[in-house]
Subunit: 473 residues, 2 copies
């Protein structure tokens, strides 16, 4: 029991709390391969649920899955200059195959723009071949110095969409469409509110014309970039010589996008919804929605447990029964660490009256419900929990976004209040650099639908944009 309950308090040491939760909930384990983690069954099951939902959303928006090579020859990586400068410092290089030294070293893909371009060059000949809407689920590698489970890892499980279009308008539309697919997914399934906007030039993806991101705020006020969608214009396509014959039989260069999300989203669930007792999973993404715990070993309790489990399964509610020999107290604590959305306790006294006790993980509220009404009760309860988690996260986030109209205000907030700072910005990268130097904060994204103040909150010159700042994971 002590092992389970031994979670650092969230407000005492947030970083340690996070590490306690990921390991004690059984999401990951450390491996002896430096910088790589093991995703344990419970953690992987969350990822499988994410994949299932997202894959369906991708297919409904016309995308097809493919599988590209995992190695990139150095000469291929070198074709687009901004891209290679951005990624070369952080890739793993394969130099030997068996005992033979390779003529050309290969990097393990850190992202696959160049591989897709190399493929698209081959298969795109005519306007009839467009758009190409491909996606791949795979592992990428980035040689990070310091790593944290789900947040920063040398190996990352993700999906990467790569598309090519005949027109700029269509490519821009795709970039935003997928950004909003992510936004909808994170809101509906992960119960996480996100700021959605364009990255500044300083923060955009290596080789992109425009990058858009989803910025979630963690419990400690720090940002987690929870997904990105990029518009490349014709940059890569030109560098790779990709051209197609348009309807007028003239050669044109197509327009490109890419977009991706990773297992990092699991980290955001933990840091947005988790509490001192452990993980709190939104029902829409939880691998196990209900844990049933029999309070005694009596035959009728055990059989009632089995019957209820069977009934829930018949209604497609994922359920687990804990009939181990541990004490009920230990089982409750474990169920809380694991963040199952709902716990059902079945005890002899309740049972005599045909009742069971239902405890929701998000509020820890208890209700006593007639056995025959459980299924109906649950279907409403899941919705309530899902809504509550989202609303709570949204409220909390909104109270942690502060407005700074000048650098005095900015400083006051940055030094005293964790969270995001909404500022007015002149557009000069020097202002971003100043904020980074002074407070260790980077710009998050430009928010288009907010009114822009008169003057830049950093330098005082004329402001052009509404820009959010925040520390980041």
């Amino acid at each position: 029991m002590s092992e389970i309950k031994d979670i650092t308090k969230r407000d005492e040491d947030f970083a340690k709390w996070y590490t306690d939760v990921v390991t004690k909930a059984g999401l990951i384990d450390y491996s002896s391969v430096k910088g790589s983690m093991i995703i344990a069954p419970y953690g992987y099951a969350i990822w499988e649920n994410m994949q299932k939902v997202l894959d369906k959303m991708f297919k409904e928006t016309g995308h097809e899955n493919v599988q590209m090579p995992m190695f990139i020859p150095e000469s291929l990586l070198n074709i687009e200059k901004d891209h290679v400068n951005g990624f070369a410092p952080e890739v793993a290089w394969v130099t030997y195959g068996g005992k033979e030294k390779l003529d050309e070293r290969l990097c393990v893909r850190p992202t696959s723009e160049v591989l897709f371009c190399d493929y698209y060059k081959k298969i795109i000949k005519s306007y009839r071949d467009l758009p190409k809407l491909y996606n791949q689920w795979c592992t990428i590698v980035r040689w990070e110095k310091t790593t944290r489970p789900f947040l920063r890892s040398r190996e990352i499980l993700w999906q990467e969409g790569h598309t090519m279009h005949a027109t700029k308008e269509e490519a821009l539309e795709e970039t935003l469409k997928m950004l909003h697919v992510y936004e909808e997914f994170q809101k509906k399934y992960l119960a996480i509110p996100v700021l959605v906007g364009k990255k500044t030039d300083k923060e955009k993806f290596a080789g992109a014309e425009a990058s858009y991101s989803l910025e979630a705020m963690m419990y400690d006020g720090v940002a987690l970039q929870n997904g990105t969608s990029h518009y490349f214009g014709q940059g890569f396509a030109r560098a790779f010589g990709i051209q197609f014959l348009n309807k007028e039989n003239k050669l044109e260069t197509p327009y490109q996008t890419s977009w991706g999300v990773t297992t990092r989203m699991i980290g955001s669930i933990i840091m947005v919804h988790g509490d001192d007792r452990g993980l709190v999973l939104p029902p829409n993404i939880a691998p196990v929605k209900v844990i049933i715990i029999p309070i005694s070993n009596k035959e009728d309790v055990i059989s009632a447990t089995e019957n209820l489990s069977k009934e829930l399964k018949e209604h497609n509610i994922s359920v687990k029964v804990d009939n181990s020999s541990k004490t009920p107290g230990f089982k409750f604590a474990e169920a809380e660490v694991k963040g199952y959305p709902v716990r059902i306790e079945i005890g002899p006294r309740d049972l005599e009256q045909g009742l069971v006790t239902i405890v929701r993980r998000d509020t820890l509220e208890k209700a006593t419900i007639k056995k025959e009404e459980v299924v109906e009760y649950l279907s409403k309860l899941f919705e309530e929990i899902q809504d509550n988690l989202y609303t709570k996260a949204l409220k909390r986030r909104d109270t942690m976004i502060y407005e700074a109209n000048n650098y005095e205000e900015f400083k006051e907030i940055a030094q005293n209040k964790p969270g995001f700072i909404k500022a007015n910005w002149c557009g000069n990268v020097l202002c971003e650099e100043k904020v980074k130097d002074d407070f260790g904060m980077k710009s998050r994204c430009l928010i288009e639908d907010e009114e822009v103040g008169e003057t830049c909150s950093i330098c005082g010159k004329k402001a052009k944009y509404r820009l959010y700042f925040g520390k980041q994971y």
Copy 2:
């Protein structure tokens, strides 16, 4: 049209026929990364269907998915001696991370026994922790010199199950259980009959005590090993120092298995069922079961096409409509190359009478069916096609298995008849080596339920086993 129909005849040049089919059916594309292929949307969709079915079967047999690191430090690979000797010559080595030379080089996993052992050492302490039944879906790398799409590739998509058990009996049971899960899958879904048996010591997996395999016979009589299941005994566990406290509180070493299948199964579908017109997919694994081709552009034909497509979708039948501007002849040819199990043609004359034409891909037989009876007809037809493909493959295979009771007979068959040779064997590896030197044939597997002849078909000494030989991909 010529591009589509231009498939080499199967009996003229089987290797070229195979390459034509994989590329012209749109299953793969070549990449400029040597030794790696691109799995195109249609090929990947077949793999997704395989994954869906197998993953369900694995979960129903109690297995959980995890994700292990993709890199293996050299020292970890070196722990089990037979294993490292088997794999070290064919791995890709990462020696640099960014600009820094690594202290210890890492290989990209060729298989993950050592990674799982390293993990199991950490998490297995007591009999209560057993069995551990883990599986992972991932990409592995083997540095092959010559490669062929799906059959032999530097990067292989597969699943690998890795389990640990308290007793030898349980581990052996698991090894055979998963072997039979594969057998059932290949029979029911891929319509492929397989020989199932134990590998000889010479042919077993590096580090295993016993290896079992599924051996399918391709159209040309050559074997394709379509999956393996290994029993490791305590070899790896001892090398890694994995121990658990049994119920009597004494330390014991657990028993281990591993088992895997790969995208190679797609190659076996092609080479077992394909014909001169292209791919032939069994309905139970086909991403698109029905292609509907309107024979004219008339409004009522197009709307009948759309209505039928909608109706089939409502009955969960995967369907595609080809309403491109190509000629019907071209569309038919393309549908045949792609191996859609059923083609439905809708033309104006049929339509007047409320009929459609249904063509099955396996036999190319045509039937004219009332529109309102299509769904019912199809559900029976899919079963018929699935059964027919299996029966045909089984019959063909069985006519290509020959018995050799002495080396004269062996030689006569080996030199004249493509297929498998069933032989009696004394158990001496020299006999296997002789067959390999003389005819380029390796032993496939030991078949236990057949009677063993008196004398070894190779050396003439007393025979102990029934052993099949055959050339292999």
